[in-house]
């Protein structure tokens, strides 16, 4: 038995951007597609500048759908933060492993299975 969730306004996604010292933590929930990626992309980039973030954690642990737009979102942020000599970390989940693997993300970005682990590593 499967469920489709209708979220407010038809965006099927919630997100939260928090600052934790020099770390920007972006938590996503729901579906990451092109439509939704466009909505959060600029907000993340603004956050990086505004908070002079040196570390960016993208927490996808509560994402239940992601297509290649999510890969584009990750790679785009990777480029931005790398240009600022910062680091990017990803929290994934079982559902996303295949698409992250396929697109080579695991080879260039460090992945964690929980936000706590990512935060601990980033704060070393």
């Amino acid at each position: 038995m499967l469920n489709i969730e209708y979220k407010y306004g038809g965006d099927y996604m919630d997100f939260k951007i928090e600052r934790d010292n020099n770390c920007l933590i972006v938590s996503l929930e729901g579906e990451v597609d092109h439509h939704n990626s466009e909505i959060i992309k600029d907000k993340i980039d603004d956050g990086i500048i505004k908070y002079h973030a040196r570390n960016l954690i993208l927490d996808f642990s509560s994402v239940d759908f992601m297509d290649s737009s999510g890969i584009g979102l990750i790679l785009g942020r990777y480029k931005k933060i790398s240009a600022l000599d910062g680091n990017i970390y990803i929290v994934d989940n079982e559902k996303l492993k295949r698409i992250l693997e396929m697109s080579g993300i695991y080879k260039i970005i460090k992945i964690f299975d929980s936000l706590d682990k990512a935060r601990e590593y980033a704060g070393r």
Binding site: L2, G10, H34, H35, F65, D67, S68, S69, M102, S103
Partner: protein, 141 residues
């Protein structure tokens, strides 16, 4: 079990999720596994997104989705009347994208190919693009 459907909608990006929900509802009677359903939704999302951002670029055009169930075989066709693809073989290559400026990853066709059992692309510049995908659903019955 046999069935078919034809859907048309404008190329607003919010209709990417609409197309995923329609294909999910259409294949539900085939009783796919969660993985199979996720593969189909992802492939449809890629093809519809391409029609919206590459096919129609900044214009609003009509996206067409046809689907057909023949026994345990699903066929999905996504079509646009947009700008078309000059070199389909190049477009199919992993990581190739004409729009790195839009944070595209160039993985769309690769994902469609991997997640479905077959992928055909018919496209000519100025004549739009038709993407034909099929997948067998493992029936547990």
């Amino acid at each position: 079990m046999n069935n078919k459907m034809h859907l048309e909608f404008p190329s607003y990006s919010q209709n990417e999720s609409f197309a995923r929900m329609v294909i999910s509802a259409f294949v539900a009677p085939m009783d796919p596994t969660i993985e199979e359903l996720s593969d189909i939704k992802t492939a449809v999302s890629e093809a519809v997104t391409n029609a919206i951002i590459h096919g129609y670029e900044n214009d609003i055009g009509t996206v067409y989705m046809d689907a057909e169930i023949n026994e345990n075989k699903l066929m999905v066709i996504i079509k646009d009347n947009g700008k078309g693809i000059e070199d389909v073989n190049k477009a199919r290559q992993p990581l190739f994208t004409s729009r790195p400026d839009l944070d595209r990853s160039g993985m769309g066709f690769t994902i469609m190919e991997t997640f479905m059992d077959s992928l055909d692309i018919i496209s000519n510049p100025g004549e739009g693009t038709t993407v034909i995908m099929s997948k067998f659903i493992n029936t547990k019955k």
